[in-house]
């Protein structure tokens, strides 16, 4: 991996984020900055978290402590596309179990695994606040709703190109 430094425009954004909080309360910026870091480097490696600590002038351990509490931060390497499907009750009622099984079969991996070519990782998450539009999964910031087996195939085809 090349040297871990945000591009200039992200650094500008970091400055703006830090300015949202009163003097001395800059630690509040940690979640927004971790999100930016994950968007940049796909997962929060120890090096990435150390860099976030440096940016915020806090110790690395403080960053690990926070990052490990929140499920959105990947503390292990992930594939290019992380598919996070909602496994909670309402989505199951809407046919989630079958659709997610199909997804796993299609990619030939289980939840928590990454395809050999490094393209896809599947993760299981809790309710995504889209229950009436389920079954649903999320790939980065995009929500894919009203999923069916056919739709899943289309999405995978599209992303495999």
């Amino acid at each position: 991996m090349s040297k871990i430094v945000f591009p200039a425009e992200t650094l500008e954004l970091v400055k703006k984020i830090i300015a949202r909080y009163p003097e001395g309360k800059q630690k509040s910026a940690i979640l927004p900055i971790l999100h930016l870091a994950q968007a940049e480097w796909k997962w929060c490696s120890p090096e990435v978290m150390d860099y976030v600590g440096t940016l915020m002038s806090i110790s690395p351990i403080e960053v690990y402590e926070v990052a490990s509490f929140y499920t959105m931060f990947h503390l292990e390497p992930v594939g290019e596309h992380v598919i996070e499907y909602c496994r909670t009750g309402p989505c199951c009622l809407m046919g989630g179990v079958e659709v997610y099984d199909h997804l796993k079969k299609r990619l030939k991996i289980n939840t928590g695994e990454t395809t050999k070519d490094g393209k896809f990782t599947i993760k299981e998450v809790e309710c995504l606040a889209a229950c009436g539009w389920g079954p649903v999964f999320q790939i980065r910031e995009k929500y894919y709703m009203h999923l069916t087996n056919e739709k899943v195939d289309q999405i995978i085809d599209e992303l495999s190109k």
Partner: protein, 446 residues
């Protein structure tokens, strides 16, 4: 009667010009130019509006508890963490009509004397955060945010804060910890946020829907709001409807319509999907007790149940439930109650922050025991074991997540014990894919 969603389907209502063309931001003009902060608070009190995040606490009263020491900043924090299974109304409102929330934020911040406010949105909704940030920028550009808003002398900065994926951060003190950049562990109370909240300053935390409703109240008066609804359930409520109904989605209902109407009328859910019958409903998000068809349509006393705080809780936990966050999950006869309860038990186990042992250990136990029942390895004593574990959690924890984990399990057993027994006694049947217990002579009617 629509208050929050009247214009939600107007094309481009997410842009400020279209929003203003439909009367948007008139409440900001009225409040900041013609009213004092106390007058706004007074109208909210009169409206009888109750917190829409789940607990139903009167909003005006909550505001009046806010400490106002000289020289100390106060904060309004909007709770947009929406993570209670079954609930997706705040998501819908912010996505479709972000200015509805922003207008409410300005009016409410003004009433509380807050000059900096935050909207804490669950991190998964990054695309909604982008929508809100764009809308906030538009409001700054029109002089509706920032310094000396509309020449009134009132200043307000508004920021959006992303969460990181943790249901517990919906609990208001955990949310404040998270907003301070820490792990989301709920705080011991007291002190309450109204006295020591964000950065130890007086803070009000309110739900998206609660805050959004204040604009209408400013425009039309608290009495007009209170005139909608029944008794102490005033105004309208966004209901997130999901499950086996013809038309899942978010509906704004006047509080007080019957549950039966809500499920079967074409105006709302449109009835159970063709060829199926109503079996059970979780009426207010995963945390509230599940009720079988007969008890959700009518109370134990035989009265039609209404969509109100009082009517839904009629009968207490023996035969009633709660309005909660309005996450209305409908199940027909194909739904397996054990499986659904298992997903909820897994949820709470996963989401417990681990600070108190009854919650940390208890949620793990319940997950494990229901899991073995679901997979055909249960023992008949397991059912009472679950009831016992649920009792041990209830009331013995720092925050209400413990109760929220215990209630759904206890209620599922209370109303569907035979279904748990069937799983245990007939593992060979129960573990077949798609197999569901059918109660003999079940009264699931239509």
């Amino acid at each position: 009667m629509k208050i929050l969603t009247e214009h939600i389907d107007v094309p481009n209502i997410d842009t400020i010009d279209v929003f203003m063309k439909h009367g948007g931001y008139s409440a900001v003009k009225k409040a900041l130019k013609k009213m004092s902060p106390d007058e706004v608070t007074e109208e909210v009190k009169k409206s009888g509006l109750r917190g829409r995040g789940g607990a139903g606490f009167p909003m005006g009263m909550k505001w009046s508890f806010l400490a106002k020491p000289e020289g100390v900043p106060r904060y309004l924090v909007c709770n947009a963490d929406e993570s209670e299974p079954g609930t997706f109304k705040d998501h819908y409102l912010m996505w479709k009509s972000p200015h509805t929330l922003i207008e409410g934020m300005i009016v409410s911040s003004f009433a509380l004397g807050a000059n900096t406010s935050y909207i804490y949105v669950r991190g998964e909704l990054m695309y909604v955060i982008a929508i809100l940030e764009k809308a906030i920028q538009e409001a700054y550009d029109k002089g509706l945010l920032g310094k000396n808003i509309l020449g009134s002398g009132y200043d307000l900065d508004l920021f959006v804060q992303p969460g990181g994926g943790a249901y517990i951060c919906g609990e208001e003190t955990a949310l404040l910890e998270s907003l301070e950049g820490k792990r989301g562990n709920p705080r011991n109370k007291p002190p309450f946020p109204a006295v020591k909240g964000l950065w130890q300053c007086p803070t009000v935390v309110n739900n998206v829907e609660s805050i959004a409703a204040t604009s209408w109240i400013v425009n039309n008066g608290g009495d007009a709001y209170a005139a909608i609804g029944v008794g102490r359930s005033t105004g309208t409520k966004l209901i997130s409807a999901s499950g086996h109904i013809k038309k899942p989605g978010v509906y704004e209902i006047p509080l007080g319509i019957t549950v039966e109407d809500f499920i079967y009328s074409d105006e709302w859910c449109g009835g159970i999907r063709d060829g199926h019958k109503l079996k059970a409903v979780v009426a207010g998000g995963s945390s509230v007790p599940i009720l079988p068809a007969e008890l959700i349509i009518t109370t134990a006393a035989g009265e039609k149940r209404l969509m109100t705080y009082e009517s839904l809780s009629d009968g207490g936990f023996v035969s009633g439930t709660m309005l909660g966050s309005g996450g209305f999950v409908v199940m027909d006869e194909t739904a397996c109650i054990v499986h659904n309860t298992l997903t909820f038990a897994k949820f709470y186990h996963h989401e417990s922050c681990g600070q108190c042992s009854p919650c940390r250990e208890g949620t793990g136990w319940m997950d494990k025991v229901i899991n073995r029942i679901e997979h055909g390895q249960g023992r008949i004593e397991d059912i009472d074991l679950l009831v016992d574990v649920a009792k041990k959690i209830e009331g013995n924890t720092i925050c209400p997540l413990g109760d929220a984990a215990a209630w759904p399990v206890a209620a599922a057993i209370r109303h569907f014990r035979d279904e748990f027994e069937w799983h245990i006694e007939h593992p060979e049947l129960a573990t077949k894919p798609g197999a569901v217990f059918m109660r003999k002579g079940a009264s699931w009617t239509k």
